[in-house]
Subunit: 257 residues, 2 copies
């Protein structure tokens, strides 16, 4: 018999089976956010497993952002399908960051690409994005408040940039960017403090906003790019890719600019 071509038998732990069946039920019964799952004891009985196994499955579902558990009695207690599937992504990205598998350069490059793309999209049909434009303007005004602490500035800055992505209508990108901003909030505050003055950033924001509102796609893209360079000058210093082994010269480019 051949020695290769074998693979170890897939050991299926019971909590994984429980997990799968719960997911199936959610899908089959068409459960929506806010709906309740059966209690742990009941699930354990029906699946004929121990409550501990059910609990491990619930922990996974909770980590994945599918359910949220509350104690007590009543129609809203127990495991409830949650409506905020994004926070799981946040936890993931935050962990990746802590375990230093990602660099700041990667994150800013990604932001540049996504937000530029989104801004161009938004600028193509500014009339369709009244809500997002309003959100952007609100954030703009909040950022003008004198004596604003860095933490709050970052908050409004996040709202502004998220509105851009939201205007693209792409929910995948919106979810990822939301999680990304949440994950790096601390670093963003540090960057603002290091920068000292937010005047340039606020001017950039206005420029982006006006470009989108005016439907000037090219200008909107350029404005986003310039803005990120101003916000993270240390990443775009004259030295060509000082710490980046390959790739990442995200500005000297854009084919046909």
């Amino acid at each position: 018999m051949s020695d290769a071509g074998w693979r170890p038998v897939r050991r299926t732990r019971t909590f994984e089976e429980v997990l799968a069946q719960i997911e199936e039920r959610i899908e089959a019964d068409g459960l929506a956010p806010g709906d309740r799952l059966p209690g742990e004891r009941r699930l354990a009985e029906q699946l004929q497993v121990s409550r501990a196994s059910v609990r491990e499955a619930m922990r996974v579902l909770e980590t994945l952002g599918v359910v949220s558990s509350t104690v007590g009695r009543g129609p809203d207690a127990g495991a409830v399908l949650t409506a905020r599937p994004g926070s799981a992504l946040t936890d993931l990205l935050r962990l990746h960051l802590r375990l230093s598998s990602l660099s700041m350069r990667d994150i800013i490059d990604t932001r540049l690409m996504v937000e530029r793309w989104s801004a161009e999209h938004a600028a193509r049909h500014p009339d369709r994005h009244g809500a997002e434009l309003a959100a952007m303007e609100r954030a703009l005004e909040r950022m003008e408040r004198p004596g604003l602490p860095p933490e709050e500035f970052v908050e409004d800055d996040t709202a502004f940039h998220l509105a851009i992505v939201q205007a693209s209508g792409n929910r995948l990108l919106t979810a990822v960017m939301q999680a990304l901003r949440d994950s790096v909030r601390r670093y963003a505050v540090e960057a603002i403090v290091r920068l000292g003055d937010t005047a340039i950033l606020r001017r950039d924001h206005r420029r982006i906003f006006e470009a989108i509102k005016a439907g000037d796609t090219a200008e909107a893209g350029r404005a986003v790019a310039d803005h990120l360079v101003h916000a993270y000058p240390e990443l775009f210093g004259g030295s060509p890719s000082s710490s980046a082994p390959h790739g990442a010269c995200p500005l000297d480019e854009e084919p046909g600019r």
Copy 2:
């Protein structure tokens, strides 16, 4: 006293405390992928909690892709820091898909943006990406095998496109795209079957590969865009954004082209 402004005290479950302490230890001790965590019994004893609580924490860490548990004895058994933090992202995205909060259009738009950007990056310095180019060529050859079942074609196709993103050097994008491809594998197979013939796709792949190798950034970007249109014609049909309420006309664009 004011009635508002209060929020319920944050009940900290013990497994969350365990989780936090484990994360701290990983960071403080500088543990790297491959290193072992103490056994569940030992952790429970040192933290003075029950083994069940430790297990729930481990389940979360496993879901987050931080550790991977194996039974048995020996230096490689137990909870080991995993080197593949991507699988957690895969689970998340797959779940989001099942709960239908994401549309195929969003995914393809994202692919288009990311892979175009990556291809342009790679084409800018083709000499630095020998490894990725080799991987792409290998995938190209595998896809030429006659009588290839759709599943295997998708496998090689994924390898090809992933190599493009890898060549960008951006680990965040690489992780996200890897997870995305894994999440939609089933749909990709269906798309291939629906298409019937892969000749056009294979020709597109060659075109992308040659453009990157030749350092033709503009052509590389165009080739990627054309390829995705060929692969998902139903999304880019002549009807202007038939099912997309706003945004997403990802081709009639590229500012200053």
